[in-house]
Symmetry: C2
Subunit: 445 residues, 2 copies
């Protein structure tokens, strides 16, 4: 057991709440701050992609015994439902029984706060942290940035305050702090597919639905109440962009033309389109993540990524798993814990950032491509026959706990092999032959 | 002539002062702010590498008629003096008559402020700008960040306030602002070679002196008073690092062993070593550089680079040349001026950042390498014979006004050609033969 400390966590989101549970179980006093009101008391605003919990997330939840609570609000999705203009394809994510789980961010966040409170974490909502004194682990809290502040001293502060973290903001102003933020030219907007009158889902409930259209795409993830949360990803400017869709008529015509089978299931299309904000997508990287044994960043606050691999929350939760491993290893030597934590997580955070960035192309273009789907089938067949020799990239990221760095490196090797395999003459007809299997075995050597 | 505006420039450094002269000649009211005291009234602190003015810098100075004033405080350097442990080599930078010019930053900055004042710019020193309202071009000035501020409104604000720009800081907090800062693991420290008692230089006055040693290097640039400003570049940590050289004896032993011919000419080595700070080196990139027709960044404030190509100031001055070209083209349409300016300069700023980063390896390692020097001789010979076919990379960056993007792209092509040429058998003996010349001609096709 560690010596009990007074610890502040800034940010009551998913990572902040789960970290609070871990630290409470470790015997520490935990205060969790958030600038927003208690999400349990308000309507969650319409600017979230539904979350896809996968193995890394579950491990962190189960590690502190709250996995089953969360499973009760999750819907398994074992496949992609790919809506082409003229037909519907399905592509399984992994092996029999492997699924990712759709969860509404608002529902999960409320649940996590309940669980953290039950574990003894104390929450302070509508408390704005404007600055932190790193060496003293002291928060500066006040109504406005230029108004009166009150100072609250802790033994340690965690910044779990997301991509635009105030805690990181202070660290950024130190020398030798590496930092980058890069926005995509693609934005997103939330839309909604309501439940049928009988509460059932209008589309297949156990699928991650995608309408891949190249530069833009629509996705839909199921909710418990029979509805789907839809997200439209599209460039801000240019042809087929948010800038173009500037009136009701254009929006409706665009959906009729490009997502014909969505028209009947999104009744309040134009209304939601103009009511919901268009949100940005950013990749943020930084280093270091910690300041001595006083301050550490975690989750989006130190590695915000684009959502196309469904790994943002999973990677943040895995930060906690890894942090906990080092806590168990190094006891009260928080300096060592923080150093090991940042050294071990930073390359993995960079790797999942890269994989997530690349995956937009896979989701929005390649899933509509017959060659790509054939390659996936070949991979799957080979992997089932030789599970020791080939774990597909998606599975290594989603259904394993292997480091993201390894997924990136091995994924690149596998891609080079598959590129070569796909050049074999008549690959469309011989794809399940011994010849193809032997070719892969040879290339793996 | 443009409609006269009230313009604030934040930063009284080299770029801010020169921009002030241009804007005054354009008929505008110009107020230049700096948080520091007037550099003309204080001793300049010992943390600067001497500047190397080259063609891009001179063009910007001559464009407003102040080149000759600056030439009077500059010393031409037409070559590198390469101090190996056992001998001294020379390598000319360009053609006969082509030089870069050594200028002390403090001396030049004082001169530029004098010139800007003479042109009618008004300076406000020790005025700390804490924030700016972008849409209103309003500066917020005060003693401290949390104290009282006074607001001063302008028609337009330029941020010429360097790598840690406050003006950019505000722009960074907008959505869709791309930003990165990356520190090198190499730092630098200023040292000094004083003049001989008769005021003459202790080393060749017309050379840029380098002691290339791989991971670290020493350089020396001449001053008007017979002294040289030396800079030691070295990793912060590890073998041969600033962390290692933590006492007088270690510093002296290190210099005796690695820079034997420097011992006699740096009399106050250990004293200066521990008196002067160890400074960091950062590459900073961002985009956009402007906010409507209200605010624009310029120089290091939007593209801080490492100093290994001697182009930091030159690139900042070239920003002004290009801005002026668009001013002449677009008159009072500042929105168009700012857009063209950032669109045109951003790729070039990225290119010189990349070239500067790479040049550390060239200076610190390759200049000690016989093969590298032979390749340079071959290039030079070919370029003299076929000036229309081959302008060496260094010359395109330093002695031309061609875009940096072009230098980077053509430099890469030339490097691929030279790599192939250097593989020719007996290249050491046939380097000046027709065979080698024809090989290059063939590869250029």
């Amino acid at each position: 057991m560690q010596k009990p400390l007074r610890i502040a966590i800034v940010g009551s989101g998913l990572v902040g709440s789960l970290l609070g549970i871990y630290l409470r179980k470790g015997g520490h006093t935990v205060h969790i701050y958030d600038r927003s009101p208690d999400i349990r008391t308000i309507q969650f605003s319409g600017r979230s992609i539904n979350l896809a919990m996968s193995d890394r997330g579950w491990k962190a939840l189960d590690g502190v015994g709250v996995g089953d609570e969360v499973r009760s609000i999750a819907i398994p999705m074992d496949k992609r439902a790919i809506h082409l203009k003229d037909k519907l394809n399905f592509q399984h994510y992994g092996k029999e029984g492997e699924s990712i789980y759709s969860i509404s961010r608002g529902t999960l966040n409320r649940k996590m706060i309940d669980l953290a409170e039950a574990a003894g974490a104390e929450f302070f909502f509508e408390q704005k942290i404007w600055d932190v004194s790193l060496a003293e682990a002291t928060l500066h809290i006040g109504e406005s940035e230029r108004g009166e502040w009150k100072d609250v001293k802790y033994d340690m502060v965690f910044g779990a305050d997301g991509a635009f973290s105030r805690i990181r903001h202070r660290m950024q102003r130190q020398s030798m702090f590496n930092y980058s933020q890069e926005f995509l030219n693609t934005g997103y907007k939330e839309l909604n597919i309501p439940a049928n009158p009988d509460g059932s889902h209008k589309l297949d409930k156990y699928s991650f639905h995608i309408w891949p259209r190249g530069e833009y795409m629509l996705i839909a993830l199921p909710n418990l109440d029979g509805s789907f949360t839809c997200t439209l990803f599209m460039p801000f400017e240019g042809e087929n962009s948010f800038a173009q869709l500037n009136d009701r008529q254009k929006v409706e015509a665009f959906f009729e033309k490009n997502f014909p089978d969505s028209i009947d299931v999104i009744p309040k299309l134009a209304e939601d389109f103009f009511k919901n904000p268009t949100s940005t997508l950013v990749t943020m990287k930084c280093y270091p993540w910690t300041y001595e044994d006083k301050v550490a960043l975690i989750g989006d606050a130190c590695h915000a990524i684009v959502p196309f691999y469904g790994q943002g929350m999973n990677a943040g939760f895995e930060d906690i798993t890894i942090l906990q491993e080092f806590i168990e290893q190094y006891g009260d030597d928080w300096k060592a814990i923080f150093e090991k934590y940042q050294d071990s997580r930073k390359p993995n955070a960079d790797a999942i950032a890269e994989l997530s960035y690349r995956n937009f192309m896979e989701m929005s273009s390649k899933t509509a491509d017959e060659k790509f789907l054939l390659a996936k089938r070949i991979e799957k067949r080979f992997s089932e026959k030789h599970p020791d020799k080939w774990l597909p990239l998606y599975s290594r990221v989603t259904f394993s706990h292997r480091p993201y760095t390894e997924a990136l490196a091995i994924g690149d090797k596998q891609k080079a092999i598959m590129d070569e395999v796909m050049l074999l003459p008549d690959i469309e007809t011989i794809w399940d032959s011994a010849q193809v299997e032997n070719k892969i075995l040879e290339l793996l050597r």
